[in-house]
């Protein structure tokens, strides 16, 4: 059952001649699912989140969040969602606890319920010991955790996370990703935007790839990589006579294609685990020695490249 239904959502700034940031995007998210919007900077991810957060009024289309329209029932939608913005949106001269208490009040919490939820969130973001310290004294990772904690205070049904791991150290990133997976396990629905392919791949039940304001592909990771239509890519270097070696590898069972690009051979295969020993055997038989070999499984980067002709990082 879908808790988020996005239908032909569109946003044009300064119409009729302004930039179309989001152009007819549609997708849905099932309850308890992590759905990632993957795309380069400027693809329209944040604009989409802003419309789903009722921050921006759509130029067209609509989105239904837990049965409420972002166009006609924005206040009801806001009670359902928690939003973690891309940049840290906290009061730096207030402590972590003071921030959580203030934001809790903005979500309508008060009294014992507020105190209890603040304590729970401080536990969740592992900042109980530092709760009285001012936020501007925190590291980037700690600020990110408070930033996320704010959005969890009112136990939202749907959590939006807009690139929450930008600019933080690997340890904090790991901690945040583990936290998101834990929230999913508790049944929370999560909409996640990122331009980090690995994050989308690791976290997501399904992924939507956006570019230039349009949804260009949507599906599970496995479904998406099939779009590329090729298997794993193996690149290999040998100590001498690469052309001859490439000829021999074309004969190896399981190798679909071999090309020579400058000083390395590029092989395509559906099953690198089976093929790799055979490549070494063929090289040994030919009196050659493999000096370097790399296997690249098909990934979202390749999907994006395949669909747009550009690398995801561009």
């Amino acid at each position: 059952m879908s808790i988020v239904e996005v239908n032909e959502l569109r946003k044009q700034y300064d119409p009729p001649k302004g930039v179309v940031a989001v152009d007819g995007v549609s997708f849905d998210i099932a309850e308890g699912e992590i759905f990632s919007l993957l795309g380069p900077n400027g693809a329209g991810k944040s604009t989409t989140i802003s419309m789903l957060s009722c921050l921006l009024h759509p130029s067209g289309g609509d989105a239904i969040i837990a049965g409420k329209s972002v166009v006609s029932a924005s206040q009801a939608v806001k009670e359902t969602i928690g939003v973690v913005p891309q940049d840290i949106a906290l009061y730096p001269d207030m402590s972590a606890r003071e921030n959580l208490v203030f934001w809790g009040k903005m979500y309508g919490l008060s009294g014992d319920v507020l105190k209890q939820r603040v304590d729970e969130v401080l536990e969740l973001i592992t900042l109980v010991d530092r709760q009285k310290d001012r936020v501007d004294k925190f590291s980037g990772g700690m600020k990110r955790r408070v930033n996320i904690g704010v959005a969890l205070l009112h136990r939202p049904k749907v959590l939006y996370l807009d690139e929450p791991t930008v600019g933080i150290d690997p340890q904090s990133r790991r901690s945040i990703l583990d936290g998101i997976l834990a929230l999913r396990d508790q049944g929370m629905t999560i909409l996640y935007t990122t331009h980090y392919m690995a994050e989308a791949q690791e976290l997501s039940d399904r992924i939507g790839i956006v570019d230039h304001g349009k949804m260009i592909a949507i599906g599970t990771h496995e479904e998406l990589v099939k779009i590329v239509g090729e298997g794993a890519r193996v690149t290999a270097r040998v100590d001498h006579y690469l052309e001859g070696m490439a000829e021999r590898w074309r004969e190896v069972k399981g190798v679909d294609k071999v090309d020579v690009e400058e000083d390395e051979a590029v092989l395509l295969t559906d099953d690198p685990n089976e093929v790799l020993p055979r490549l070494f055997e063929a090289a040994a038989a030919a009196g050659s020695r493999i000096t370097e070999i790399n296997v690249t499984e098909p990934n979202l980067e390749m999907v994006f490249l395949h669909l747009t002709g550009r690398a995801l990082r561009e």
């Binding site: 921050l55 806001k78 009670e79 969602i81 913005p85 949106a89 203030f102 009040k105 903005m106 008060s110």
Partner: protein, 411 residues
Amino acid sequence: MRKILAIAWKDLRSTLRNRPALVMMLVAPLGLAALLGFAFGGSGGFDIAATKVVVANLDRGGAEAGQNAGAAIQKILTSKDLSDVLDTKTATSADAARKAVDNGSAEVAVIIPADFTSVVYGSDPAATSQVELYENPTAEIGGSIAEGIVGQVLADFNGARAAAAGAVALRDSGGPSASTVAARAAETFTHAGGVSAGLQVTQRSPKVGKSGTDVSVTGSILAGMMIFFMFFGAANVARTILTEDRDGTMPRLFTTPTGHGTIIAGKFVAVFLTVLVQAVVLLIAGRLIFSIHWGRIDVVILLTVVAAGVAGGLALLVISFAKTPAQAGAIGSGVYLVLALLGGNFTGTAQTGTTYAFIQRFTPNGWLLHGWDTAMRGGGVADIRWQALVPLGFAVAFFFFAVLKMRRRFA
């Protein structure tokens, strides 16, 4: 309401933790007031304009032709020698003279009674006559000048009457020498309850009874500084709307189930409370450090609340036109400085010349400064009704346009 107060308390707390802001809001006005008060020696020193005086000479004159002591006073007040300090016109009746003060076209009315000459030239040493000075309570220096001049003339008349009375008293003792007559006249003149008490100046005010307490220069200066720095205090808090917009906390607030109106209202309350606290601290500090008598508590409360409203409304209006905090700072500083210069925050409101006094009426701070001056003279709520109502009108207008602009901006 709970959310409004939460937003207001959050901003107020941030301001109280901001040391540079506190210095600007509290230390600067006190320091400047102390410095300027010291520079003016606590008694004045402003370059003053001529005081506008209206004279109603009702004196019927004496029995003999040409006897008119009132005309002598009128002549002195209109003499060229005093034209630098007095700009004197005449009125045909006491009511017309008082009306001129009431409507602001004159600061002091000198009303010479009908029996003035008959008392001055009369033979009854116990007879009395009173010249009325009807003055605007805020015309502190001008009132004193008129009072001094009229008082001096009356003292001269009193001296003459005393001399005459002394001469009459000695006439029967037979041919006294000139020195004996002079000595007796002096004795009569200085004798308590003698004829010297016959001609007196009485003072009245259209609104406020003359207080025995003089308004200290430091008090006037601190009132001006307080209002000026309240503008900056309000601006400091109002600017958080722009900084929060820039830093992402304002958009985040808009993602919570808190209405836009509630958020903006919270900001308004924060601005208002901050300047209110600032004013209260400055008023208490002024009382404790400079022994300033601010006036009756109800008047002080009314003026403080209205001043906070003006400062808050103006600050919000300024930031509603700015796109960035830096822009708001630049625009605000210019607006506040111009208003302070036009309104008299640095010069006071007393005796500032016709054109300047006219311009002050177009600034909320000009009205407020007049209000504080009246308050420090012991005026009541009725006495400052216009000095409170007009700035209140300014405040409401500022708030209205600020809200209108912000609703469009954050819609």
